[in-house]
Subunit: 94 residues, 2 copies
């Protein structure tokens, strides 16, 4: 939702790793969890943080819940960063 949520979600290495894994396509919660050294439940919470930040979407397929990247919210961060960097090629400055 907000930049705040998005940045907070990205400020955790496990969550970033999850996002990177999802670049290659959707994965089930179980598959995702298998890549980490923490419990299933812990990953599940990370997934819900990412979901609240709208960085991933989930779809149930039978017994499995698949997660996939949603990169649209990243635009907001990009814009904020660009603004911060002072990129002024949208209008003349001075």
């Amino acid at each position: 939702m907000s930049l705040q949520n998005t940045l907070k979600a990205l400020a955790d290495p496990i969550r970033r790793e999850i996002l990177s894994m999802l670049k290659n396509g959707k994965m089930s919660a179980g598959d995702i969890s298998g890549h980490f050294d923490v419990t299933f439940a812990s990953i599940s919470r990370h997934l819900s943080v990412l979901k609240e930040a709208d960085l991933i979407r989930d779809t149930r397929e039978g017994k499995f819940i698949f997660y996939e990247l949603n990169t649209s919210v990243l635009e907001e961060i990009m814009l904020w960063l660009t603004d911060l960097k002072g990129d002024v090629n949208n209008d003349k400055e001075e």
Copy 2:
């Protein structure tokens, strides 16, 4: 230094606000602090987090310590985000 440090530093609204303020030029710690409703000491710690993340630089001038933006580390985040978004204009994919 690391993406981790940078993102963690950006994941706090006060710290982001400080960075935005510094877009207009350098400011002393006191001036920065004056814009917020928390104590001086609290802002000082935020400044040190930003400094460790290399997002700001400080220079002492007499009694004052001035802070200024250092946006170069933002590149790293931009790259990471771009990669995550799957921007593939560097090579043809499929």
